[in-house]
């Protein structure tokens, strides 16, 4: 079977009956909610495993119902409205976050064309020519939820958290957008379903006259973009090590300090839904979407029917695991380190990579000689730069004794270098007076 027959294109959307559309929307919503419910449990168990402790294991099998119990508990807690809060905005801010995070799932392709009660329909709520930009727009709107939550609380720590998050998210959005540009250049489209379809084909490139079938995943083809993209989405979802807006060791809980009860639950919900959404977005853009990974893809039926749902969610769970792994491993960055990474590393790397990629794509059409000439010029410049790059010769390091002797007059006195501090007269006297505890053994011990 031709695998491309299963891949939906933009013309396949917009022909569903109303009940099918409703069903798809409910499905995406349930994915978001279940993702949160299981995501919190998953995170706590995995972090527990990494920290050599059990994690939640009492409620339900493997502690699966712990999140549900926590959610119920939160619903019955007192809802506190701070006196100095801006009431309307305080109320709406968590809702903005949740709505934006959940809506982004509507343009994520979960699978290929399937048959639902006789209707051929793609496993995706909808797709538009600018679907990737829709996700970006929603993630940039989700910032409002955090910033406004911080501002409307009317207290210092949330305000600081909100300020941090607005600056952080704007910075990382730039790197995020730039890293996706490479995907657009290779796929030639901004629609999510077509980007997935473009990754399903694989590429053939000519290496020394032999045609080699390469992988189609953009994580492989556009590895620098993938790295920048993943770092950026960790920053964009406020996950550790970039969770400065809620840095608990500095800002209590950051922007959500004043929130309690269901509003707090909504904020937690939005955080985990955003994590699931961004993982699904990464899978769509870089990890081949619902296409089966390599060993499974040898089976001809792997990419048709309902099977791709399994591959898709498998990849999403793998990425969520990476999110949790990062949290369990890395310490939180300082704010200036975060900004330096965003502006001085991620954005320049993205820009240079886009230029290199554009040149490479353009050079595919050139004559062989032209290509070699350009390669020679670039390589020559690189070689000359490497030759004349000012190198710093390492000074021979003086020994410790030399360093001590070279100290100018009047320097702070040093203790003796042999580390033998002369015992104080008082200690000496007490030792001498005391009865020796380990007296040399007498006759008895020698006999035994």
């Amino acid at each position: 079977m031709n695998p491309m027959a299963q891949a939906p294109s933009l013309t396949d959307f917009g022909h569903d009956p109303w009940w099918l559309i409703l069903g798809k929307i409910v499905f995406a919503f349930v994915v978001a909610l279940l993702g949160t419910l299981l995501g919190v449990w998953f995170e706590r168990r995995v972090v527990g495993f990494m920290q050599v402790r059990p994690g939640p294991n009492q409620l339900g099998p493997f502690g699966l119902l712990q999140t549900l119990a926590d959610g119920l508990k939160m619903a019955f807690k007192e809802d506190i409205l701070p006196k100095s809060a801006d009431k309307v905005i305080y109320f709406f801010a968590p809702a903005i976050s949740v709505i934006c995070a959940v809506t982004a799932l509507s343009v994520i392709p979960f699978g290929p064309m399937v048959s639902v009660f006789g209707h051929q329909t793609p496993l995706q709520v909808t797709d538009v020519p600018v679907a990737v930009l829709v996700v970006l727009a929603l993630s940039s709107m989700a910032v409002y939820g955090i910033v406004l939550a911080g501002w409307a609380s009317g207290s210092t720590y949330p305000l600081l958290g909100g300020l941090r998050s607005s600056a952080q998210l704007i910075s990382y959005e730039v790197a995020l957008g730039l890293s996706i540009v490479a995907v657009f250049m290779l796929a030639g489209t901004m629609s999510t379903s077509e980007i997935v379809a473009a990754q399903g084909q694989g590429i053939t490139f000519n290496l020394f006259g032999a045609d080699i079938q390469g992988p189609g995943w953009y994580a492989v083809l556009l590895f620098p973009s993938f790295v920048v993209f993943f770092i950026s989405i960790v920053g964009e979802t406020n996950r550790p090590p970039f969770d400065l807006p809620e840095a608990e060791s500095e800002l209590v809980a950051g922007f959500m300090t004043e929130y309690s009860s269901l509003k707090f639950a909504l904020i937690m919900l939005s955080e985990y839904v955003a994590m699931v959404t961004m993982s699904a977005f990464t899978v769509t853009l870089f990890l081949g979407g619902w296409y089966a990974p390599w060993p499974i893809s040898l089976w001809s039926g792997a990419n048709s029917g309902w099977w791709p749902l399994l591959w898709f969610f498998g990849k999403v769970i793998l990425l969520v695991f990476v999110f949790v792994w990062l949290r369990g491993t890395l310490p939180r960055l300082r704010y200036d380190q975060l900004m330096r990474l965003g502006w001085k590393v991620l954005i320049p790397v993205s820009l240079v990579w886009i230029v290199v990629l554009a040149t490479w794509l353009k050079a595919q059409d050139w004559e062989r000689n032209d290509r070699l000439v350009v390669l020679g010029i670039v390589g020559g410049i690189g070689l000359i730069a490497a030759l004349f790059w000012p190198s710093r010769k390492p000074q021979p390091k003086p020994t410790l004794v030399e360093q001590v002797e070279n100290r100018p007059q009047g320097s702070f006195p040093l203790p003796p270098l042999d580390l033998q501090v002369p015992p104080s007269p008082r200690t000496r006297r007490m030792v001498a007076e005391r009865e020796p505890a380990n007296a040399p053994a007498g006759q008895d011990s020698q006999e035994v």
Binding site: V128, A137, S140, V143, W151, G162, L163, I170, G410, F412
Partner: protein, 255 residues
């Protein structure tokens, strides 16, 4: 590849009309609310509402790319920077209600309404009988591709000029805001540490009296690491003195 939206046709479809009549009042309310709101952050949020509605209008009128870019750039980045500054200014920054010019508010409302009526009726009369043409042709190769083709062929000079203008403005702003410090004024960590341990400067906190000393008396000076006495550790009014061996011997009371 058919990437133009279904709504690209000249006729106004039902869905388009419904969306318009829902969002148009919201956009207007946002604009009025922005002017009327006392609190600066509320003003900004009303403006966000208007910008979001405009973004959806662009999508409705077969410009999905410009609609999404409107939301990402204007709502997501520019308004967010506005909010950032407003939050830095403080949450209690509200307009004062004192009218500086007498009757200014009434006059402004009257003139504003008059101008809106004039503009609205003018636009209405101008577009009453016209039929939109060329949307399908413009979106024939895809909306994004069409914009890209225009930007990189016919309008490349204007596009680059705008980019240069923005970059100039950005760099100008950075230069104005940048506090120039001479190189010798800046002390990095290594220089700070060298100065700290330079001869004549005492690097640590003052040693407490009695540290490494033969007695715990306040009058007993501390010893420096090499065994010399440090007179920085004793109060100035007390004479520095070393206890004699007789004074430091134990009195035999500890047993």
């Amino acid at each position: 590849m058919i990437t133009s939206t279904v709504l690209a046709s000249g006729a106004v479809s039902g869905g388009e009309a419904v969306t318009f009549w829902i969002l148009a009042p919201l956009a207007l309310a946002g604009a009025i609310g922005m002017v009327a709101a006392r609190n600066a952050v509320h003003s900004a949020l009303w403006l966000v509402l208007t910008m979001l509605s405009l973004g959806v209008f662009y999508v409705l009128q077969a410009g999905p790319f410009i609609g999404m870019v409107q939301i990402i750039v204007y709502t997501g980045a520019i308004m967010m920077l506005f909010l950032f500054v407003l939050m830095l200014v403080g949450r209690d920054a509200a307009d004062s209600l004192i009218e500086v010019l007498r009757g200014q508010r009434i006059a402004a409302i009257g003139l504003g309404v008059g101008f809106a009526v004039l503009l609205g009726s003018g636009v209405y009369r101008a577009t009453q009988d016209s039929t939109p043409v060329g949307l399908e042709q413009a979106n024939a190769g895809g909306n994004v591709q069409g914009i890209a083709q225009l930007l990189f062929t016919d309008y490349v000079f204007a596009f680059e000029l705008t980019a240069a203008l923005l970059i100039t403005a950005t760099i100008g702003g950075m230069i104005l805001a940048h506090v120039e410090r001479r190189k010798e004024d800046k002390r990095d960590q290594v220089a700070t540490m060298k100065a700290r341990f330079a001869p004549g400067n005492y690097p640590g906190p003052k040693p407490g009296p009695g540290v490494f000393a033969t007695s715990s008396s306040v009058a007993t000076p501390a010893r420096l690491p090499d065994g010399r006495l440090s007179d920085r550790s004793t109060p100035d009014i007390l004479p520095v003195r070393e206890l004699t061996a007789e004074e430091t011997t134990l009195k035999g009371t500890e047993k």
